[in-house]
């Protein structure tokens, strides 16, 4: 079974992710120790909260260096969830400008309603639209709903890094990918069957 | 700390029970209200209703009586026969029927009635027993459905409008006022008070290979069908002062058989005799709410001045909430094996449904068990 490191950087509910990984057949290892990443087959960066706090906590724990080594140098498959997806961008404007990990080109911007009826945060079940089949989405139909809860989004600079979009506030990237690095805006661990399928796909890559 | 009724031994955790300013529970108050009831008038009402519904020419039954073979349903049948009625008896068969249960069913037939037994597909039934145990902590959930649904289905199919139930459990066990006054058991009553615990029959479709076609006997008739036949359910307990113990005496006098020893976890040998799964069902009540069958029985005796509260407390402490190692002598492992569960899985499910606030735990937050494997309540009486 894959050892899946789930990074604990002091910000959120890790239990749900750990249980979801367990149910999908992985061996979850919730850890705040940078050294644990060395032996992980997969790495998940979950997250709910503010970007600047998150980056600071990662830095302080020595996680940034460890992540770069495991993901960029060694090529371990990586999944960033919600805030975790944002952290792989270059920069965020949440609470002032903060640099991210810079793995996928793009910035984190606040969602802007395109219609007066669109409320921020974007909370609830919404669909992901994708055109090309993708290993993360195997067995998942186009326009399947996932659970979103966020006020910011990933504005990717390179269009082929965008795997799926969601039509809200215009349109935003709900899944991004570059090589072994994946980011999902929604919460697969809270998206019941669809989320479980996506996580299983991630574990089987 | 758990608060208990000042008169009986019900804890505040019991669903649908409320305590008044004097610390007396609604079940005790409901019983107290019986003094105000004009039973003679009620009995006249009963005669009037049954006469209204009886068959004019003997071509159909006068009423339908849901029966289980137990003391109460035996009593119900006897009462109807004494009133000159010709009832059709209907049983939604319990699973894991005990030998004594089978004999008591045959005894009802020998009273002189037509009888229909409906058995649900046991392989499906047992899957539902297990699912319900794991989902809502009630192994007997399909039994609750069967008890209410099968008789009504037959009433509709055979055009018998009057259905005579036994006690209105809301009345005896103290449910919301509206329910206590209710004479009639309809779909709304079933949903609200029938012990369905939030689970619906339609929830089962798609679980573990259960399909819609497996659930025909579980489907309550539609409102339209009920209206067409004019199905009206009444509670015998509304018209005659209900007492389970007296029912048992009456039933015994007519051939009803009791168990040779005390039923496990109970204070009686005259009820819950038909089904080996009842021990598990009652145990989960204890885990969730801190009281079991012994408490129910003790309270019935307390209210009727057959037992003092302080004496009842001692009996309850001896027998309530025991781990159901056996039920009517059958080991739990056998009962669990029938529904495809191991003892380990069972224990895990027990823990999930245990309300840890009610029981003593060690410093690590783990439940403490005594030498018999029983949990210990934090307080057995109001301190």
């Amino acid at each position: 079974m894959s050892k899946v490191a789930i990074i604990d950087y002091g910000l959120c509910n890790l239990d749900s992710m750990a249980r979801a990984v367990d149910i999908c057949g992985g061996t979850p290892c919730v850890t705040a120790e940078a050294s644990e990443l060395k032996s992980a087959d997969r790495i998940i960066l979950p997250g709910v909260g503010a970007f600047p706090n998150a980056m600071k906590n990662l830095q302080d724990a020595g996680m940034v260096a460890a992540l770069n080594e495991a993901v960029i140098e060694k090529g371990r498959p990586f999944l960033g969830v919600c805030l975790g997806m944002h952290l792989i961008a270059e920069r965020s404007v949440e609470h002032g400008k903060t640099e991210g990990l810079g793995w996928i080109k793009g910035n984190i911007k606040r969602l802007e309603p395109s219609e007066s009826t669109e409320r921020i945060p974007h909370v609830g079940w919404n669909e992901i639209d994708f055109e090309m089949p993708h290993p993360l989405l195997s067995g998942i139909e186009n326009r399947t709903d996932f659970y979103f809860v966020h006020s910011y989004h990933f504005q990717a600079k390179v269009s082929h890094h965008i795997v799926a979009t969601t039509p809200y506030c215009g349109e935003f990237a709900s899944i991004v990918q570059k090589d072994n690095i994946f980011g999902v805006q929604f919460h697969p661990e809270k998206s019941q069957k669809a989320g479980a399928r996506l996580l299983s796909n991630f574990l089987s890559l | 700390m758990i608060k208990y009724c000042n008169r009986c031994l019900y804890p505040e955790t019991k669903p649908d029970l409320s305590f008044d300013d004097e610390g007396v529970c609604s079940a005790c108050r409901s019983f107290e209200n019986r003094k105000e009831i004009n039973w003679a008038q009620r009995q006249s009402e009963f005669t009037e209703i049954t006469q209204r519904y009886r068959s004019n020419d003997g071509s159909n039954y006068d009423a339908l009586v849901p029966v289980s073979g137990g003391k109460d349903s035996t009593y119900q049948v006897i009462k109807l026969l004494e009133n000159g009625l010709n009832p059709l008896c209907v049983t939604g068969m319990t699973d894991s029927l005990s030998d004594i249960g089978r004999r008591n069913i045959e005894n009802i037939k020998s009273l002189g009635v037509d009888y229909i037994e409906v058995t649900m597909n046991p392989t499906i039934r047992r899957r539902i027993n297990r699912l319900a145990l794991q989902l809502v902590g009630d192994i007997s959930w399909p039994e609750h459905i069967a008890i209410f649904t099968i008789p009504i289905r037959i009433a509709v199919q055979m055009n018998i409008p009057l259905v005579v139930w036994g006690e209105n459990s809301q009345s005896e066990y103290g449910g919301p006022a509206a329910a206590q006054e209710s004479k009639v058991l309809d779909r709304q009553w079933l949903e609200e008070f029938g012990g369905l615990l939030g689970l619906r029959v339609t929830d089962l479709i798609g679980q573990e290979g259960i399909e819609k076609r497996h659930l025909i006997q579980y489907m309550y008739p539609s409102d339209e069908e009920l209206r067409r036949v004019g199905v009206t359910g009444i509670f015998l307990g509304h018209f005659f002062p209900w007492d389970g113990y007296t029912n048992a005496l009456y039933a015994q006098a007519h051939g009803f058989e009791t168990y040779p020893t005390l039923v496990e976890g109970s204070l009686a040998n005259y009820e819950n005799l038909d089904n080996h799964q009842t021990g598990i069902h009652d145990y989960f009540k204890f885990l969730k709410f801190g009281f079991g069958r012994a408490t129910d029985i003790a309270n019935n005796h307390i209210r009727r001045n057959r037992l003092l509260r302080k004496d009842a407390l001692k009996l309850v402490q001896l027998h309530d909430g025991q781990f159901p190692h056996t039920c009517l002598g059958k080991p739990i492992e056998e009962t669990l094996a029938e529904i495809g569960m191991t003892l380990e899985q069972f224990n895990k499910t027990c823990d999930q449904f245990t309300n840890k606030k009610l029981f003593k735990c060690n410093n690590n937050g783990e439940l403490i068990k005594n030498s018999m494997g029983n949990l210990i309540k934090i307080n057995a009486d109001t301190t």
């Binding site: 909260g49 009826t117 669109e118 079940w125 809270k190 | 969730k288 606030k357």
Partner: protein, 268 residues
């Protein structure tokens, strides 16, 4: 009011809005088990929390709200062990409230499995708490819950401590302040309608929906399918309900089928 509702309703139809309306069962916990009341009174025991959580999880509901309604008045902290056990059975979003007073309470709740916290009484007592939570954990992690009763003059007044303490405050002002402080959502409950199953308070819902631009969850009074569509037409983003699911044969899915027939976007 009617005009606003109509405009909003038409907008919805034209946009082919894809964010799905959430139907959110609410579980109210008091001392030792689940309860349900009428007008925040006459609390009736309705059974064990675990079985409700499991049933809703099996039904894959959109979201769940779990509120410990006496924690604040008993000066108790949230029961973290209980939430931990319940969250283990939840594979959909779980919002937890009751007795939340400090950032540490929030952190612990999120750690044991809550996805969002619901702050009611303390939001009135310590308004800074809202912004503290939003700054630390993000706006999406905090729902500000407002319980309101109609006053004699026909306005609304906020009550805290499970409907016991009048505050003299107005729900509109409070919801605006909550949004400014960083709250992610407002949960607006009509105390008068709660448990009656006679319909939501549409005026209250419309007022709050018009006042804020964050999502509004309507609560209090749902008794039949039509109540849900009525509330949506007044601007609610999501609909919470309890009595209807405890005491009738309606399930969240049946409500959603009704809403789908009424052309509202739902997940079925």
């Amino acid at each position: 009011m009617l005009g606003y509702c109509l405009i909003f309703y038409l907008f919805n139809k034209v946009l082919n809005y894809v964010l799905k309306t959430r139907i959110i069962p609410t579980l109210l916990y008091k001392d030792l088990g689940l309860v349900k009341g009428v007008g925040f009174d006459s609390w009736r025991r309705v059974g064990s929390a675990m079985q409700s959580i499991k049933v809703y999880n099996m039904r894959e509901v959109d979201e769940l709200v779990f509120l410990d309604i006496t924690a604040t008045q008993d000066s108790r902290q949230p029961d973290f062990h209980l939430i931990d056990d319940l969250a283990d059975e939840c594979f959909m979003p779980l919002a937890v409230g009751g007795g939340i007073k400090t950032i540490e309470d929030v952190r612990k709740l999120l750690m044991v499995g809550a996805d969002k916290v619901v702050v009611n009484s303390q939001a009135v007592v310590t308004p800074d708490l809202i912004s503290a939570i939003a700054n630390q954990f993000g706006a999406q992690s905090i729902v500000v819950s407002i319980d309101a009763r109609k006053t004699k003059s026909g306005d609304y007044e906020i009550y805290t401590h499970a409907g016991k303490t009048p505050t003299g405050l107005c729900p509109k002002d409070m919801s605006r302040c909550a949004q400014e402080a960083g709250a992610g959502e407002i949960l607006i409950t009509s105390i008068d309608n709660d448990g009656t199953m006679e319909g939501y308070d549409l005026t209250l819902i419309e007022e709050i929906s018009r006042t804020v631009s964050i999502p509004v969850i309507a609560s209090g009074g749902a008794g039949k399918k039509g109540d849900f569509s009525d509330a949506l037409r007044c601007g609610a983003s999501a609909l919470a309900a309890a009595s209807i699911f405890h005491f009738t044969e309606q399930t969240p899915l049946e409500i959603k089928h009704h809403l789908k027939d009424q052309r509202f976007p739902v997940r079925v």
